[in-house]
Symmetry: C2
Subunit: 205 residues, 2 copies
């Protein structure tokens, strides 16, 4: 049977979301069509609102409706530590585990020369500027333990070399081959506690 | 950290979809916000189009943009057999397995007195009318093998009692406790082939 075209089109759009296969997409769309019209209206409104109100924080890259974001502005956070993450999703995962009280920096991608994935040069410049100008004592690298994560660690370590900061990475309590976003609170906590020091900064220790 | 309110709201909306937990909802929303604006525009347009063009087929309850639907109108389908399913999702699952060439009838829900779930009386009236007036020889009950499925089978069997049709159900090759929608093609095929006859119709055999 050919599905009605509009139905087929909507299922294809839902399939583009990460982790959503054909059956899940179909189930989501049929659910959507069975809701009162107000549900899809709220959804459309809310998406439009997010698109217009939300933007990356100019300091850390977190998704925010103010600038700088609430994390960067929080006077109770430890401003001498910056945790560098691949994505906002990873930032939120660490944040919601409630195990970290410093600031963040979102790279937006990992360095993956084989896939032709570069980290945007301006992002790296902003990182260096921030670490140089602010009273940063430690930079924690919190990438998912896979090849691209390792390559990115090497890259960032090299960039941090001339700066007077300590560089550490999360310990491999993380399941290798897995992803920061799917780690549970305990694993994340252990990985943070047992972080391995890559370089000891002398300047601001 | 408190997420930006618009972001939080959108994640909560995505969590309402079946099978979507907090982490999946967050991942989907962050993906959405990272797409070009045209993606969310297509999504909103496509949802609006579905809401305005699609409706249940007046004969079988399938979701369609014409009436009756393309299955009901297909001259090559066996009009003497009607497969009764709980939902459009189950209809599509059976249909896409390509193992059945008769017509359908969607109940919209199962009979579940403990959850105060009734099948809409008008739906049952439409079913009886259709089986009485059309040249139906066999009605196949294709409900997920769980308590509500059994209760619904009993209910439909009783309703079919006075009518000159054969009533069968899918064989329990289906994993018990599972759902029609997640069965694979082979399981569905076996379940259809080994269907158990509940009542032999004499009138039109
Ligand atoms: Zn920020
Ligand atoms: Zn139909």
């Amino acid at each position: 049977m050919a599905l009605a075209k509009a139905l087929e089109d909507l299922i294809r759009l839902f399939e583009r979301f990460p982790g959503i296969g054909e059956k899940s997409a179909r189930r989501m769309v049929l659910f959507l069509l069975q809701q009162p019209k107000s549900f899809s209206e709220s959804l459309a409104e809310c998406i439009a609102k997010c698109n217009s109100l939300l933007h990356p924080c100019s300091r850390c890259g977190n998704i925010t409706d103010e600038d700088p974001c609430s994390i960067c502005c929080d006077p109770f956070r430890d401003k001498s530590t910056i945790c560098i993450v691949e994505s906002v999703e990873d930032l939120i995962t660490i944040e919601q585990a409630g195990i970290y009280n410093g600031l963040y920096f979102v790279l937006g991608s990992l360095y993956s020369p084989l896939d032709d994935e570069e980290i945007v040069p301006q992002v790296l410049e902003r990182l260096v500027k921030r670490v140089s100008e602010e009273e940063v004592k430690e930079v924690i690298l919190a990438f998912s333990p896979k090849v691209e994560g390792e390559l990115t660690m090497n890259l960032i370590s090299k960039i941090m070399e001339p700066l007077p900061v300590t560089v550490s990475r999360l310990s491999y309590g993380l399941p290798v081959g897995g992803s920061v976003s799917f780690a549970d609170r305990t694993t994340l906590h252990a990985a943070l506690e047992a972080r391995t020091y890559i370089k000891r900064g002398e300047g601001r220790q």
